[in-house]
Symmetry: C2
Subunit: 237 residues, 2 copies
């Protein structure tokens, strides 16, 4: 049986403040939990599974208990608490292709972008300090485990860029160079901006290149995760 204080603790992890304090995050559902269990960078702290379901080691709980601790509308068999990944070193963005997210607000977009980055073998994603938390439940559920493979670093983006003077920095904008015909080196930082405002002036002024995805139809803009995907596909092909 789960103690009241344990239930309260797990519920508190829905808020960033308490996740940060405890250095942990929550994942739910057999598929997502299994992905994290297999990740070398992520350590399990606690696991709760529905009595009668198989395949997990942890504490068997009742469906009423699972409902209490789950953040999902439909709880899904297993809930695990993992320690946030700790990396030996934060590698520099030099000599490879990385992604930078400048104030992405939608958890679904962040999750989708990490999954796409993981698909294309991107190892590091730098997020501005006001980008949505990667350990937000919606992000964790939509990355499908990519959080365990892609290093996500929250940092001041203009300061990061200033640290590496020779680094090519590509900002996705609505008035840049044609993505398909521009020179696309295999290293540098690709910056995707906020869902409605785009890349901030502070970052844009430090970008070495501006990228535009040529438009043939009439939509006013592309979704941020779609723009990230098209650009990554083009740079990584």
């Amino acid at each position: 049986m789960l103690s009241k204080s344990k239930i309260k603790y797990i519920q508190s992890l829905r808020q960033k403040k308490y996740r940060d304090e405890a250095g942990v995050f929550v994942a739910e559902g057999p598929k997502v939990v299994q992905e994290f269990l297999e990740s070398p960078n992520i350590k399990l702290e606690d696991l709760f599974f529905l009595k009668g379901s198989n395949g997990f080691n942890g504490t068997a709980i009742s469906s009423i208990e699972l409902e209490k601790i789950s953040g999902l509308v439909t709880p899904n068999e297993v809930l695990a608490i993992f320690r946030k990944p700790v990396y030996d070193s934060i590698a520099s963005p030099e000599g490879k292709l990385s992604l930078a997210l400048d104030s992405i607000q939608d958890p679904g977009n962040l999750g989708t972008i990490l999954r796409t980055a993981d698909w294309f073998g991107i190892e590091q994603v730098f997020c501005s300090l006001d980008t949505v938390d990667v350990f937000n439940a919606k992000v964790v559920q939509s990355t499908m485990g990519s959080i365990g493979r892609v290093q996500v670093i929250y940092t001041d983006l203009p300061a990061l860029i200033a640290e590496y003077p020779g680094l090519p920095v590509y900002a996705a904008t609505l008035d840049g160079d044609d993505l398909y015909t521009m020179e696309r080196p295999s290293n540098g930082l690709i910056v995707i901006g906020n869902e409605s405002r785009g890349v901030s002036e502070a970052v844009l002024s430090k970008a070495t290149h501006k990228i535009f995805i040529p438009r043939k139809g009439k939509a006013e803009s592309l979704n941020a995760s779609v723009a990230a995907a098209i650009i990554l596909s083009e740079f990584c092909r």
Copy 2:
């Protein structure tokens, strides 16, 4: 003032059944409503705006009334009811590039895919009968008006394909040909499958080509709207 029956009618439009009966859909917020007002294929039926806000013709209502009729967590100034678009003819998929969605379930994915199709100048999107309703509020809000420009046709996909024997049909799969190196003609049907099951066997067996987006990293799959975007970018460049 809004009558009780009017409020009830507008609230009922959150359900597909009542939207279908009335042949209308609801859009909210100045930006989204404006996009539909400018669309030649879509006729306004009724418009309600918050007393004191400018720029719209219709019925001025109080914030309490707007809260009652709005489906948004945070009502946004204006709510309009539009007639579903009626097209003079449903053009055939021959001689151009179209998209087919095979059981897309997530409204956000459908909205994002329509917006991407609109960006790349795709004029028709064929949806399997079990694809989520395009007039679902979440889809309407996330397409940013693309519904007014892209013709969305719900139909039996295997039957549609059978009608056009020479039509190239490209199914996105995890075991197809390399998207980047395959021959990519400027006409045909690109099929994107369900978020977890992919393209159905019934459609896959009728496809003339299978497409795979080469993977360099370790993610198990790509989000459906991301896969659609990468493939459209490649075919339309």
